[in-house]
């Protein structure tokens, strides 16, 4: 099976083409956040580099979130539309799992995280069990202190992701020195090859219902829900 893997969930843009577990081509850039300009030409260039036509792809895998809302939408819209229009399979993978999947340590929990500002993070708790990445605690948006509390019970924790280093001070206070370590810096960038590998093991998604996992309501909706207890008659979007 040929897989095109796309990650635009944060500043790096990573693409890979796989033939089952074999890597055919990959490309990662980290110089601008303008995924709208870069994504499609880079997909075209990657396919061309291995002389593949879009129709020869069997499955499209995309980092589904969390991450930058705009980045996620560009990646997910592109992946979803490509899969729909080419009539191919679509698979969504957690953008945090993509980072966790690069870390191979036994008996240790792997905690990928993204800074979500004002003391909040997007994070998940993962573990590698018999060579397979497993989610112990689902990805969520939470306070850094709340994350530290959740992690207390684990004897060994490895943090991964570019943003994790900036919280080193807080981790020092929250954990015993031997409890915490950081992944090698080269693992802090998402690699679409790993995304593709994770996507190999997953069932295809239903394309029409596929949307990013923002893990956060918009501010307007959160406030509205508070006031209205989330009640509304009928659908929010209607065909006219």
């Amino acid at each position: 099976m040929k897989i095109l893997a796309i990650d635009t969930s944060n500043q790096p843009l990573s693409l890979a083409l796989l033939e089952d577990e074999r890597l055919l081509a990959t490309m990662t850039t980290n110089h601008s956040k303008n995924h709208s300009v870069a994504l499609m030409p880079q997909i075209a260039a990657l396919l061309k580099s291995v002389a593949l036509e879009p129709t020869e792809i069997d499955r499209i895998a995309v980092a589904q979130g969390p991450g930058s809302y705009t980045g996620l939408r560009i990646g997910v819209t592109t992946a979803k539309t490509l899969a729909f229009t080419l009539n191919k399979e679509l698979v969504g993978i957690s953008s945090l799992a993509v980072l966790a999947g690069a870390v191979h340590v036994a008996e240790t929990v792997i905690v990928p995280l993204f800074d979500a500002r004002r003391g909040n993070v997007f994070a998940g708790i993962y573990q590698e069990k018999e060579g397979i990445l497993t989610s112990l605690v689902a990805d969520r948006h939470l306070g850094l202190s709340e994350l530290c509390l959740k992690l207390q019970k684990y004897p060994h924790i490895v943090f991964v992701g570019n943003d994790s280093q900036q919280f080193a001070q807080q981790f020092k206070h929250a954990f015993k020195p031997q409890q915490v370590s950081f992944a090698h810096p080269e693992l802090n960038y998402p690699q679409a090859y790993i995304l593709g590998l994770l996507a190999l093991r997953q069932k295809p998604a239903e394309i029409q219902n596929f949307i990013p996992k923002y893990l956060r309501l918009t501010q307007a909706e959160a406030q509205w829900k508070k006031k209205h207890q989330g009640t509304l008659d009928g659908p929010l979007v209607e065909k006219i």
Binding site: S36, T77, L82, V237
Partner: protein, 346 residues
């Protein structure tokens, strides 16, 4: 003009709060025009929330694509090009349409046509009658109020525009003051027809030697009148308030349009944009134009005044015929604008 081959454009529009995909034949016939509106969602907040709009677009985009292709009963092999709105509009909303259009164009090796949303609004009129050049367009919507000169096909030049609020924006703001639900344009139009212009609100810039508009002074005058009445416990007639507001908007729009028509002789005046559905405006312009009988008055069909992809397909067809192409690096341009007409009085 009866070409043997039918030329089909697939068009995407996601600039604000409508997700739309259309299939247009030869730039003049709608085979499908699927529109999913988010109005009900944004009503919760009293106006369009950009992040919410972007999220809805991604939920809807391939559903609309599927429905449009099914309704038009065409396959990708039959398509000639993909057109997409790339501005102006909300950046996050535009990006969804641009990404989807690029994916389809790339997947099926089709040319990609970038379309200015305002050119789309003008070309909604193409579904009524062929455009004849030179032409003038009065574009009135929630985001824009401008006079656009079209010397020839695929050329658009701004003659005048609003200095502050768009006319549609003013409607929504005074609608809020009157306690009407968003969007308020249609209801104000209806109230206005039952009232009379008794408040004599200001007509901004009416006598200035240019083709520009301003609606913030009118809006302030309206709000002050209502607040003052509330303070002294006076009950104002809603119909008369609406009629007075609308008459002031119409007087300015009509006067500036007629002034522009004298300076730029044209064959057609095209009325387009969301506010072009306003009955009062349609009637007032039609009446004044009877005195300029060499100018044909073309109104966008009521059903195509709001945002839709069919109009993007019509404008995209003309751009395509004029060799306009975008590459796969096409980006959204939220503040895209037409160039100003040469020698414009600014």
């Amino acid at each position: 003009m009866n070409s043997l081959k039918r030329e089909l454009i697939l068009a995407f529009e996601t600039s604000c709060d409508e997700t739309s995909v259309a299939v247009v034949e030869n730039g003049e016939k709608i085979l499908a025009n699927v529109v999913a509106t988010q109005i009900k969602s944004h009503k919760r907040f009293g106006g369009v929330v950009p992040e919410v709009a972007s999220r809805h677009h991604i939920e809807q985009i391939t559903l609309c694509l599927q429905d449009a292709l099914a309704e038009a009963a065409v396959t990708y092999e039959e398509l000639d090009a993909v057109a997409v709105t790339y501005g102006p509009g909300l950046v996050g909303a535009l990006l969804v349409g641009v990404a989807a259009a690029k994916a389809v164009a790339f997947a099926h090796n089709l040319p990609l046509i970038p379309v200015n949303h305002m050119a789309g609004h003008i070309y909604a009129a193409r579904f009524v009658t062929p455009l004849e050049f030179p032409a003038m367009a009065l574009l009135v919507s929630g985001g824009h109020t401008e006079l656009v000169y079209l010397p020839e096909p695929n050329r658009y030049e701004i003659v005048g525009e609003t200095r502050d609020d768009a006319a549609g924006e003013a409607y929504d703001k005074i609608g809020r003051v009157l306690g009407l639900s968003y969007p308020a344009g249609k209801e104000i139009d209806a109230l206005a027809h039952a009232g009379k212009d008794s408040f004599k609100f200001p007509r901004a810039m009416l006598h200035e030697e240019n083709y520009d508009f301003s609606f913030s002074g009118l809006k302030s005058a309206f709000i002050n009148t209502v607040h003052h009445a509330q303070q002294v416990g006076e009950e104002l007639n809603k119909n008369d308030l609406a009629a007075s507001f609308q008459q002031s908007v119409i007087d300015v729009l009509v006067a500036k349009t007629i002034r522009a028509l004298h300076a730029f002789p044209v064959k057609q005046l095209i009325l387009a944009g969301g506010v072009a559905a306003n009955r009062g405006l349609r009637q007032a312009l039609a009446q004044r134009l009877t005195r300029l009988d060499e100018v044909e008055f073309v109104k966008a069909p009521l059903t195509l005044c709001g945002d839709n992809a069919a109009m993007i397909g019509a404008a995209g067809y003309v751009a395509w015929k004029n060799d306009v192409r975008a590459q796969l690096d096409l980006n959204a341009e939220p503040s895209l604008e037409f160039p100003w007409v040469k020698g414009a009085l600014k």
